[in-house]
């Protein structure tokens, strides 16, 4: 339903010069002593009087949205029907309406705008279709402008509604990401540098009483007579937190107008799925003015929670939060919430030096950082070519100084980018 907002009343100045018509008629009539031009004075005076005396109509509206779907999947078409009823006492001869379509959604068919005349109690309907995108999208107020009979004055009101669309995508098909050695204590699939039980050979050490018989190196015993124990690389579970660059710079878009944040969130969904399948605990955090954090976890409930927060969390909004970003504050949030032994996958387009600095400081806090960088910048213009070159320079810098970077050309599958990057990684 509706909450009427204060109205703004103003003159349109459309009839501002009409008095001149009266004076022109008067002048020509007096000079020519003919009645015709003098009667033109009456026409000018008539319009001027109506323009002066008319007042903008009361614009008291009831607006109601009817959506074909309030929880669509990304890409679904949602039909919107906006019904507007004139609840005021006046006829509105010229009512102009614009529905408050959320910024992130595009109208695929029809138009959210309309103009009509409405009698008291009269109703008009606007129908259009929008294409759903990930995120929570609240409709802005309906903007209505009512003009008087000859359009000399108008009254503008905004009518609020509480309609929203929640668009949550299923987690995409899982994609594996080789993790770094930082792990938790739980058994898992990440091969560590610590010797113990496992699969991959690590070292041979002197036998200590209590070592399992199956790990004794019997060949050495036969050859030298000494007892020795084979150590394998221990395999443990990891804690992985995806930190997504949601600063304004993270919303740089590709040629299809899809932002790096969108690519990062899709990649996070795919990688998190595979990591959780392998028994790792996975969380996510936004890295921008707004903060959304999903603590690392595991299991079906956690998967649903992660999916919902990635889709609807304020920090992962489909449109950028343009309030001030403070790097130190954002890093302190991560330091405070993210477990010390968690690996971080920092998803950022790396189009500015803050991304490099962030990587450095996260590493300095003791996290093993892997940078996943969606490459959304084309090189069709000189400006974008320069941005792309600078980005490649930063990527090279991070790779040489801190280690792992996956530079992902978003036109290619993520698996290809990871496999290509993996070849250049040492353990």
């Amino acid at each position: 339903m509706t909450d009427p907002e204060p109205s703004i009343e103003r003159d349109t100045y459309r009839w501002m010069g009409i008095t001149a018509l009266a004076f022109a008629g008067l002048a020509v009539g007096v000079l020519s002593s003919r009645p015709g031009p003098l009667l033109v004075v009456a026409v000018g005076v008539g319009y001027a009087a109506v323009a002066r005396s008319d007042t903008p109509p009361e614009v008291t509206l009831d607006v109601e949205h009817d959506l074909s779907e309030t929880h669509p999947e990304p890409g679904d078409e949602v039909e919107v029907e906006l019904t507007v009823t004139n609840e005021g006492p006046d006829t509105i001869p010229d009512l102009r309406l614009a529905d408050g379509v959320p910024d992130a959604l595009s109208v695929s068919e029809g138009t959210p705008r309309h103009a009509t005349a409405l009698r008291p109690g009269g109703t008009t309907t606007i129908e259009y279709t929008i294409t759903a995108r990930r995120g929570r999208h609240e409709f802005d107020p309906v903007l209505a402008v009512g003009r008087d009979w000859i359009g000399a004055h108008e009254r503008e009101v905004e009518v609020s509604t509480d309609v929203s669309i929640d668009c949550v995508a299923s987690l995409p098909d899982s994609v594996s990401l080789p993790l770094r050695g930082q792990t938790a204590q739980q058994v898992g699939t990440v091969t560590t540098d610590t010797g113990g039980s496992g699969v991959e050979f690590h070292t041979v050490r002197e036998y200590r009483p209590g070592d399992p018989l199956k790990r004794i190196d019997w060949k050495r015993k036969a050859r030298t007579g000494d007892l020795a124990t084979i150590e394998f690389r221990e395999e443990r579970a990891a804690i992985v937190v995806f930190v997504i660059d949601t600063r304004v710079e993270g919303y740089v878009t590709d040629e299809n107008d899809v932002s790096a944040v969108e690519h990062s969130i899709r990649a996070t969904g795919a990688l998190a799925q595979a990591l959780m399948d392998d028994g790792n605990r996975v969380g996510a955090a936004s890295f921008g003015p707004s903060w959304t954090y999903v603590p690392p976890g595991l299991g079906r409930d956690h998967e649903v929670r992660l999916r919902d927060r990635l889709a609807l969390g304020e920090g992962f909004s489909p449109t950028p939060d343009r309030s001030e970003f403070v790097l130190g504050l954002s890093l302190r949030r991560i330091q405070k919430h993210v477990p010390e032994n968690a690996q971080i996958v920092f998803c950022s387009p790396v189009i500015d030096d803050v991304a490099v600095e962030t990587t450095r400081r996260l590493e300095a806090h003791g996290h093993a950082v892997t940078v996943l960088s969606p490459d959304v910048v084309d090189d069709e213009t000189i400006g974008s070519t320069v941005v792309d070159l600078e980005r490649e320079d930063r990527i090279r810098n991070i790779r040489q100084t801190y280690g792992r970077v996956v530079s992902w050309d978003v036109q290619e599958p993520l698996e290809v980018a990871i496999e290509s990057a993996r070849r250049g990684w040492s353990r």
């Binding site: 008095t19 008629g25 026409v43 005076v45 001027a48 001869p93 000859i150």
Partner: protein
């Protein structure tokens, strides 16, 4: 796309053609304004016709500058028509028609800019056009009626003074 849409130059994105009914109402009003002065065949015809053409181009291009120029020319032509002996009805008719043509087209451009040129807004357009035409016809009609009733008994200067007083009154209202 209608034939009229072709008048909008594709390379000038700043121009928006008036909405459909406004275009047609405006063009009809221009025609009425020109036809009103044709029977007398006075020297005002070129002014009114030129003004009408300029106004029509403004309508078809969605160009407010041309609209205003055409409107002023038509009004000027109408006044000249009255001054050189044309009938009062034709003079007033041309002025009202020109005013309706200008206003409806200007309003149509505003509608097209605000809600889109292809949106069906006929009801708002026609209500506005009817209101503007009605005000003009009532004001002009009343003046003509008064003239017919009193013109033979009252000296012209008295009528002039009366109208002048009304103009001053309205101007005072506006300042207030």
């Amino acid at each position: 796309m209608s034939v009229l849409d072709e008048f909008v130059p594709e390379d000038d994105e700043s121009l928006t053609q008036p909405t459909t009914y406004s275009r047609y109402v405006s063009l009809v009003a221009i025609a009425v304004g020109i036809v009103a002065v044709v029977p007398a065949m006075t020297g005002s015809l070129p002014f009114v016709t030129t003004g009408g053409v300029v106004l029509a181009v403004g309508v078809l291009r969605g160009d407010r500058t041309w609209l205003t120029r055409g409107y002023l020319l038509m009004i000027g032509g109408g006044l000249v028509h009255g001054a050189i002996g044309g009938t009062a009805i034709a003079t007033v008719g041309t002025v009202i028609a020109a005013t309706v043509a200008w206003d409806v087209a200007e309003n149509g451009i505003g509608l097209a800019e605000q809600v889109g040129p292809d949106v069906a807004v006929g009801r708002a357009e026609l209500v506005h056009a009817a209101a503007v035409a009605l005000v003009g016809v009532l004001a002009g009609g009343a003046a003509i009626a008064v003239t017919f009733v009193f013109a033979n008994n009252q000296p012209l200067p008295a009528l002039v003074m009366l109208l002048f007083a009304v103009v001053i009154l309205v101007a005072t209202f506006r300042q207030g």
